[in-house]
Subunit: 189 residues, 4 copies
Amino acid sequence: MNKRERIIQAAVEVFREKGVEKTKISDIVKLAGIAQGTYYLYFPSKMAVMPAIAEVLVEKSIKEIRANVDREANFSIQLTQVIDAIFSVAENYHEMLAMVYAGMATTEHMNEWEAVYEPFYRWMSDFLKDAQTAGTIRESVNTERVSKLVIGLIESAAEQIYLYDSNREQEVNIQKQEVHSFLLHAICV
Amino acid sequence: MNKRERIIQAAVEVFREKGVEKTKISDIVKLAGIAQGTYYLYFPSKMAVMPAIAEVLVEKSIKEIRANVDREANFSIQLTQVIDAIFSVAENYHEMLAMVYAGMATTEHMNEWEAVYEPFYRWMSDFLKDAQTAGTIRESVNTERVSKLVIGLIESAAEQIYLYDSNREQEVNIQKQEVHSFLLHAICV
Amino acid sequence: MNKRERIIQAAVEVFREKGVEKTKISDIVKLAGIAQGTYYLYFPSKMAVMPAIAEVLVEKSIKEIRANVDREANFSIQLTQVIDAIFSVAENYHEMLAMVYAGMATTEHMNEWEAVYEPFYRWMSDFLKDAQTAGTIRESVNTERVSKLVIGLIESAAEQIYLYDSNREQEVNIQKQEVHSFLLHAICV
Amino acid sequence: MNKRERIIQAAVEVFREKGVEKTKISDIVKLAGIAQGTYYLYFPSKMAVMPAIAEVLVEKSIKEIRANVDREANFSIQLTQVIDAIFSVAENYHEMLAMVYAGMATTEHMNEWEAVYEPFYRWMSDFLKDAQTAGTIRESVNTERVSKLVIGLIESAAEQIYLYDSNREQEVNIQKQEVHSFLLHAICV
DNA sequence: TATGAATGAGCATTCATTCAT
DNA sequence: GATGAATGAATGCTCATTCAT
C-alpha cells in the first residue's frame, strides 16, 4: 500500500538504471509491484511522475544540508559546509536531477519546477538572513534574492565538475575553495 | 544547397515550435525542403543534430556579447553590458538551450556539451584576465576557473527570471543589478 | 433507485452524445449516479444493454404511432398517419436505432433483434388485418408477411431521407406522398 | 503491388472471419503481405477502409444483377430476376454489408454511404425508366424516387429472411413472391 | 445489493530508419 | 548525392471487468 510512494521510488530506481527514454511504464510498475493500470490512477502520464521525483530529490538535498551544517560554527565554516553538502548532493543526484529537469523541460511540467525548489530557496534565505542579523553579511544584500543566486552558483559550479569526470578528487576541492572565496567576497562585510 | 545548414535551421525552428519530443524528422525535412532520407546523409540520428544546434546557439551568444561590450568602457560598465547580453540571449534562447541540453542529456551526446561551451568560457576568461591585468580584479582570482562560475551565475540568474514569467520588466532589472553587485564584490579589488 | 432503468436511460443519453465506441462504462455509471461495479449487477457486459435500449426505442415508436392514428378515419388517411408517425420516429431516433443495431450486429445480440421488433410487426399486422376485413385491402394480401414489408419500406424510405440531411422540409413530404401512393397501389383493392 | 487493393481484399477476408471488432490491423497486413506501417499510407485508420469495402460490395451486387436480368424478357420476369439477384447478394453479403454499415455508422464515415449506393440506385432508376417508357409502369411513378423505395423494400425483405435463419428454403420463396406481387401492384399499370 | 479501487490484457498508431532506384 | 515509399519494432494508454469490503 501507499502505491503513490511505491511508484515514485520505483521510477527513481528505474530511471537511474535505464534512463528516462528507455524506461517503460511496465518496468516501473513491475518494480513497484502493482498493475499497469494502477499507475494511471496516480499519475496521468509517464512524465507526470517527474515533479514528484523532483520533490523527493529536493527533500533529500535539504535533509543532507541540514545534517551537515553546524549552526554553532562561524559563517565561513558554515558556508564551507553548505558548499560541501550541495556538492555532495550533486555528486549523488545531479544525474538524476538533470534527467528529471530534462523530463520536465520536455513536457508541460516545467512550470512546477519553481514550486519544487521553493523549500530549498527558503532554507538558504533563512540561512543568509541569520548571518545578516549577526552582522556577517552586508546590510545591502537582499537575502531573498541572493539566496537564489547562491544556490544557482554553487549548483552550477558542482555541475561543471561532475558533468565531465576529469581528475575529480583535486578538481573538486579546488572548485569548492574557489566558490567559497567567491561567495565570501560577494556577500560578506 | 548547403543542406546541412538548412537542416540545422529547420530543426531549430521546428523544435522551438513543437518541442523536441513532438518533432518528427518529417517535420524537419519538410521545412528544410529536402527528402526524408537526405537527413541521414548529414546526421546519423534524430538527436545527432542537437550538438550542431547547441553550437549555433553558443555562437549566437558570443556574437551578441561581443557586439554589446564596449571594450573602452570601465570594468563595471563592461560587466553590466555582459550581464545585459547574457540576459538578452537567455530571454531569446533559454528555452531552446534547455531543450537542447535536455536532448543531449537524454542521449549519448552529453559529453560534447563542454566542447560546445568552451568558446564561451574562453571569451569570459580572456575578458577577466584583461581586467586583472588592469588591476581591477583581485590577483588571487583564478580567472580560468572563475570565468565558468561567472557564466554559471549569470545564466542561472537569468534562467530564474525567464523560467517563470512573473512581472518581468521590473524583476529583470532588479535581478541584473543584484548580479552586478554580487559579482563586483566577488571578484574586484 | 430502479437502477436498471437509470442505467438504460443514461446509456441512451451517453451513446447519443458520444457514440457507442467512445462511450465508456464509467460515463454511463457517472450519469446514472451509481458505482461502476453496480452496472454489472444488471448487465453482464457493455453491449448487453443494447437490446434493452432497442426495446425502449421500439416501445416509443409504437406509442407514437398509436397516439397519431385515428382509428375512425378511412384507411388512406390512417396510412398517411402511420407514415407520418414512422417518419417522425425515424427523425428522432434513427441515429440511435442505427447505433443500437450496429452495436447488436457487432456482438452476439443480433438474434434478439427480431424479438425486439415483434410488437411493432404485430401492431402493423393487426392494422392491416382490420383494413382487410373492411374490404379495403385485397384478400390475396398476406397481412402477416406484408406488415414486415410495409414497415421495412417506410423505415428505409425515412432513413434515406434523414441519413443525408439535404433540403429536408420538401423532400420529406414528397417522399411521404410517394410512399403513400406506392403502398396504396401495392395492397389496396 | 497495388497495395490498396490488397489491403481491401485482405480486410474483407479477415472481417468476415473474425468480425470487425476482433480484427487487428496486424491480421489484415499479414494477409495482405505488407508491413503494418504501409497500411497507414493508404488508410488513415482502421475504420477508414470501410467505405472502400462497401464500394466493392456494391460493385459486386450490381454485377450480380446485371448478369441475371434478361433484358429481352417481359417486366414481370425481369422483376423476378431482380428480386432473385438482390436476395442472392443479400444471402452472400448481407452479413458483410451489415458489418460495414455498422462500422461506418459507428465512425465518421456514414456520410459516404449514399455515394457508395448511388450506382445501385442509378441502375434501378434506369431499369424502371425503361419499363415506364414501354408502358409497363404507370406514368405517375417517379422512377428516380421509387428506385430507392424498391431497393429498400427488396433489401429489407431479404434481410428479414436471412437475419433470422428459420426454415429458410420455403420462407425465401414465399417472401420473394410476396415482394414480387407487392411491387407489381405498387407500380404497374 | 452496492461499491470503486485495482487489474492487466490488448492494440492502434507512430515515426525513426532503411534501401532500391 | 538525393529520393521517398516502405518498413516494423516498440509502447503508452485505455477501459471492460473483477472482487474484497
